[in-house]
């Protein structure tokens, strides 16, 4: 016991010495998948949060020096709980920007609550994360898959499409999207002619796509992430399946376009949050990100991680690194501008102003639907 105390004192001392320049150092955690199949998005998020911290530290007006503690949840619940315990039980950490994988976010909410660590979820989209509990510690900047699919289904049925095929991966992400899209598309009068689940590391989809082709859908809705999204779109072409490709936030990445080349043209996708490039600070974020020369792009959820980190640091500037005060302050967040749109937390900590942005690929770029030649009628979606 004594040794532990000595160690702690020693640690604290070294800590103070390191930060002795003038400002106190405040540590905040970033948790996301840095290894395995979802690592691309995790690394994008990590870089974005890192960027937020760097920019703040470069700002002479900030009260504190910030340090980002990066932890890998491997997208696995037990590893997630392990690192969540590490972050939450460490009293030197004031708050956290946590989790991309819904299943991990679900597993860790109890841990954050137990230790009273304020966290902002930066990517996980399962509604239950904020709504299945009353924990004051848990917040989320991104919208849920409910909002996204509502907008998506409404939009796509308004374009006159009637027959839908759904292909989703069998992770929590894909299955959730499948559930909500099916619900909403039926509500708006669409017909689901095929609904198939596929493995998240599957490579060959020709059997599923041939089956879908036989059902003659007008739209193929895909619930899943970039890697298999690329494969499915490419293999549709192999089989001559000419349905409109309609995706979720998981494919809004440069890699989707890079992986497909010209085949990406005309693909639709929807993402929670406002369009970073149009919002105040969004362009700034993208420029600064580029300037840092990170080896990976920010991906779809990088802006959320950035926004969450900025929001946390803004709050800490006001309250100091006191977890309880941070939680109390976060509860008051209303109509706050960010690079992903306005943020207002409801009493579950969920951002209730979920701007959903519609994207379409045009000439090798994700373009806002409203500004695209597809909206103006110059170009046509598949089958129109």
């Amino acid at each position: 016991m004594i040794t532990a105390r000595i160690a702690r004192v020693a640690l604290a001392t070294s800590f103070v010495c390191a930060a002795a320049q003038a400002k106190d150092t405040v540590r905040i955690a970033f948790v996301g998948p840095l290894t395995g199949g979802n690592s691309a998005i995790g690394l994008g998020g990590r870089n974005s949060a890192d960027l937020a911290v760097r920019l703040r530290n470069a700002d002479a007006k900030s009260k504190y020096q910030y340090e980002l503690v990066v932890l890998d949840d491997e997208c696995k619940p037990d590893a997630g709980v392990q690192v969540a315990t590490k972050a939450a039980s460490d009293r030197g950490i004031a708050a956290g920007v946590t989790h991309y994988c819904s299943v991990v976010a679900m597993a860790t909410v109890d841990t954050y609550h137990r230790f009273g660590l304020p966290t902002i979820v930066w990517g996980a989209v399962l509604p239950d994360i904020t709504y299945k509990n009353d924990y004051k510690e848990i917040h989320r900047v991104n919208g849920t898959m409910i909002n996204q699919n509502d907008t998506n289904a409404k939009f796509i049925t308004e374009r006159g499409y009637k027959k839908f095929a759904i292909l989703h991966d069998t992770t929590d992400y894909g299955k959730g999207h499948d559930k909500y899209f099916t619900e909403f598309v039926k509500k708006y009068g669409g017909e689901v002619v095929a609904d198939l689940g596929v493995g998240a590391d599957q490579q060959d989809f020709t059997a599923e796509l041939t089956q879908i082709q036989a059902a003659k859908p007008q739209v193929l809705y895909f619930g899943g992430l970039t890697p298999i999204g690329v494969r499915i779109r490419a293999q549709m072409d192999k089989l001559g399946l000419n349905a409109q490709f309609d995706g979720t936030s998981g494919i809004v990445s440069d890699d989707f376009i890079r992986g497909l080349g010209p085949l990406a043209e005309g693909v639709l996708a929807f993402r929670e949050g406002g369009p970073a490039e149009k919002l105040p600070g969004g362009q700034f974020f993208l420029e600064k990100y580029k300037a840092q020369n990170y080896p990976n792009p920010p991906e779809a959820y990088g802006p959320f991680a950035y926004a969450a980190a900025v929001l946390l640091m803004d709050t800490i500037e006001k309250t100091g690194p006191d977890r309880k005060k941070i939680i109390a302050e976060l509860a008051k967040v209303k109509g706050r501008d960010s690079i992903v749109g306005t943020i207002t937390f409801d009493d579950h900590g969920q951002n209730t102003v979920p701007a959903i942005t519609k994207y379409v690929v045009q000439d090798g770029k994700w373009v806002l639907w409203e500004e695209s030649e597809y909206a103006s009628g110059k170009r046509k979606l598949a089958g129109k």
């Binding site: 689940g197 490579q203 060959d204 059997a207 036989a214 001559g240 890079r258």
Partner: protein, 306 residues
């Protein structure tokens, strides 16, 4: 099901089976000469595919545009580079472990696979996301009813068949092939016949790895996309195919490859449950086959040497 649709499924399955068979042949060759499973074989395939892509990028930057030239260069560089990689693995990891428990070899090669996979993910530019693989073959398409045949697919299928036939010819008709088979039969006797055992092992690993590289390139040309984790499942399936057929048996590996592809296609299409169960179905059948034929479909009979 219409005939056209059926033909489409057969075509899809054949393409898949071809790739599985090429991977399985590698497993079975390695087992033949050294009685080991080279579990990083799937990741060697991925390395081959990325090497091919890297070559393409480099050549395009240098201004080469002729698809024929590009294709030839890509295949040759990838096959040679990967053959070298396979031989280096054999030299540094597999041969030193000769005589060690099978389990050690298995784990070492599995870990080597992890190293390769992670290295591609971390060090190939943008390697954590899928990469576009160029279409170097003509993509003319012929549609008959629901059947959609593309020229590149047909070419790939034929190239695969030729490659398997060539491997077969090489193993059964050439001097080195005979030496490989002699070592596979009985290492001691082969040594006394004056065959350089180490050399044959290295050559075999080189050939098997080159086959994997070609399979990787075919994979890239077929799907137009490659991914750092592509070798993981392909490796497991290739191993399963080699085992179902019976380790050490060339025909068994080919049979196993096509059988597994057939199982997956049937699981996705013809069975009354959701297609996501197709791998559950395929692996359950694999387990059942192992229960019924413990040494594979055309493996050696379970003989006890007393």
């Amino acid at each position: 099901m219409t005939l056209a649709l059926f033909a489409q499924y057969v075509m899809n399955g054949a393409m898949l089976g071809m790739m599985y068979a090429l991977v399985a042949v590698g497993f079975t060759l390695f087992f033949g000469v050294l009685d080991v499973i080279q579990f990083s074989h799937g990741d060697v395939l991925a390395a081959g595919a990325f090497l091919a892509l890297g070559t393409w990028v480099a050549l395009t930057k240098l201004g080469v545009v002729s698809p024929v030239l590009l294709l030839a260069a890509v295949v040759v560089v990838s096959a040679l580079g990967t053959a070298l990689l396979g031989a280096v693995f054999a030299r540094t990891l597999v041969l030193p472990l000769k005589g060690a428990p099978q389990l050690n070899v298995l784990l070492v090669t599995l870990m080597m696979g992890t190293v390769l996979r992670e290295a591609i993910r971390l060090f190939y530019p943008g390697g954590s996301q899928p990469q576009l693989f160029p279409a170097l073959l003509p993509t003319t398409a012929y549609g008959v009813g629901g059947f959609h045949l593309r020229l590149d697919n047909a070419i790939l299928l034929m190239a695969g068949a030729l490659l398997i036939a060539a491997t077969h010819f090489f193993i059964t008709r050439t001097r080195i092939g005979l030496a490989i088979r002699a070592v596979a039969q009985d290492e001691e006797t082969a040594r006394t016949m004056g065959i350089d055992f180490r050399r044959i092992v290295l050559v075999t690993f080189g050939i098997g790895s080159a086959l994997a590289a070609v399979a990787g390139v075919m994979d890239g040309l077929y799907y137009n996309e490659i991914f750092f984790g592509m070798g993981l499942l392909l490796g497991v399936i290739g191993f399963a195919a080699a085992i179902i057929g019976g380790l050490g048996n060339l025909y068994g590996a080919i049979l196993g490859g096509f059988l597994f592809a057939a199982l997956q296609t049937i699981g996705a299409v013809a069975l009354p449950f959701a297609s996501a169960y197709k791998d559950v179905f395929a692996f359950a059948v694999v387990i059942a086959i192992m229960a019924a034929r413990p040494t594979g479909l055309i493996g050696e009979r379970a003989s006890e040497r007393v």
